[in-house]
Amino acid sequence: MITNFFEGIGAYAMLMSKVFRRPDRWIIFYRALLQEIRLLGLDSIGIVAVLSVFMGAVVTIQTALNLSDPLIPAYYIAIATRESITLEFSPTVVSLILAGKVGSNIASSLGTMRVSEQIDALEVMGVNSANFLILPKIVAQLLFNPILIILSIALGLWGGYMAGGALGLISFTDTLIGYRMEFMPFYTFYALIKTVAYAFIIGSISAYCGYTVKGGAVEVGVASTNAVVRSCLAIILANYVLTDLILNA
């Protein structure tokens, strides 16, 4: 098992060395990039929006229930909600959801191309198939996931604002005061650093799982599951390492 793990790491590193090369034709790369941004990014806006609004609402409700003390100012609820969403919920939870949605998409599409010999066809033509197929997917996520996370933070805060006010847990005015109080722009920067790291993890691990499929439809399904599980584990591990390195340094 340990041998397999290290063999896998080696194969992953070798694949990435094939991926990060200069594209054969830039114009074709840009076209593929725009297509991937639409498929992997724009098509994820809906789920990210719904998830973020309700996540913000739940965080506000739970924080309000835990801070229901007359000695604690109400705007503290909003401060805690803001920090929770910015530091953890939006970058990490949304990335875990994207690992499921985008990761399985990448692994299954590449896996299907592998078993139907489309990747072999590219190789026979002299195309660096890893670079041609995987690089646009990774770059699309590196570019678009930060936008999704910024959107997620904004909608999460809006969800908290609406839920807190509508349920009478915190007034709209206190929420706005709390959201603005002692705001540290670095925390948003930290969230974006994590997002970029997670985007790379999702894109590269899912692509590795799909690109190296051997067999048929069953193996494509297994690869898709592996892509999600491995991406999620890697995100959780990276979350710990990055938090320690950036916030605890």
């Binding site: 054969d24 066809a121 026979v124 002299g126």
Partner: protein, 270 residues
């Protein structure tokens, strides 16, 4: 082993630049030895067929010649160059001189028929858009696919998919054409059309074509040079005219397995 006609083909049509020579190829996966020292000279400008039962090593042999698998021993020569000794850049250039028709077509399912055929031109040629349009139109006409350019692979029949695959393979005017089971899954009539198309294109563009098949109709129809493989060995080679008269026991057993060919043998002996 080789008949008079086969020798004549080698001498008359010899063209070193387009010749593929395979020397002592061995290939194994884990403990499974698939190729056990295969030597073949494929004739330039002709249709070369590799035949044999399922599991005889045909597909691995073809993919090794193409460079999709690296041989464990032996060498593959394209003209006077050895595949294994080529630089990465030269190997990439060589691949642009190869056309491949895969068993399942291997068409890019997110692209239309025309986009599939145009793809190699977009990637590797310096043609203008107008020249690319003309080339795609010419190739589509040549494989009789007029009017299908805007359709997707999922919307066309198996025979049409094979023709699209052939069109894509020849769009860059390759020196070498490889076909892996081009007739699999096709009805006999369409299979003959595909065979004839491969034969016509081979002669028209003077390509060295290697076809992997187990279809005896193809062997008799287009087999300028036939290589018979069994258990990872080459056990016989000759022409389509020689295959029915071969005295090799393995070839006889393979060729005359069906009732139809048994009757053909009886008729031939009369």
């Amino acid at each position: 082993m080789f008949g008079h006609h086969f020798s004549e083909l080698c001498v008359d049509r010899f063209n070193l630049e387009r010749m593929i020579q395979v020397k002592g190829i061995h290939k194994q996966f884990g403990e499974n030895r698939v190729l056990k020292g295969v030597d073949v000279d494929f004739i330039p400008g002709k249709t070369n067929l590799i035949i044999g039962r399922s599991g005889s090593g045909k597909t691995v042999f073809l993919k090794t010649i193409l460079g999709l698998y690296d041989p464990d021993q032996g060498s593959i020569h394209y003209g006077d160059e050895v595949l294994g000794e080529m630089t990465k850049e030269r190997r990439m250039l060589l691949r642009q001189e190869l056309g491949m028709v895969f068993q399942g077509g291997a068409l890019f399912d997110s692209m239309t028929v025309a986009a599939n055929i145009r793809f190699p031109l977009e990637m590797f040629s310096n043609m203008t858009e107008h020249q690319k349009d003309e080339r795609v139109s010419f190739v589509m006409d040549r494989v009789r696919l007029q009017g299908s350019g805007d359709m997707f692979p999922a919307e066309i029949s198996g025979g049409m998919q094979k023709r699209v695959s052939i069109a894509r393979a020849i769009s860059m005017n390759p020196k070498y054409l490889f076909c892996d089971e081009p007739n699999s899954g096709l009805d006999p009539e369409t299979a003959i059309v595909i065979d004839q198309l491969i034969q016509e294109l081979t002669h028209e563009f003077n390509m060295t074509t290697i076809v992997n098949t187990h279809d005896m109709n193809s062997v008799l129809e287009i087999g300028d040079h036939v290589v018979f493989m069994k258990d990872g060995y080459k056990v016989w080679e000759g022409t389509n005219n020689e295959v029915l008269g071969s005295t090799n026991a393995d070839v006889e057993e393979y060729v005359f397995k069906s009732k139809l060919f048994k009757q053909v043998r009886v008729a031939l002996r009369k």
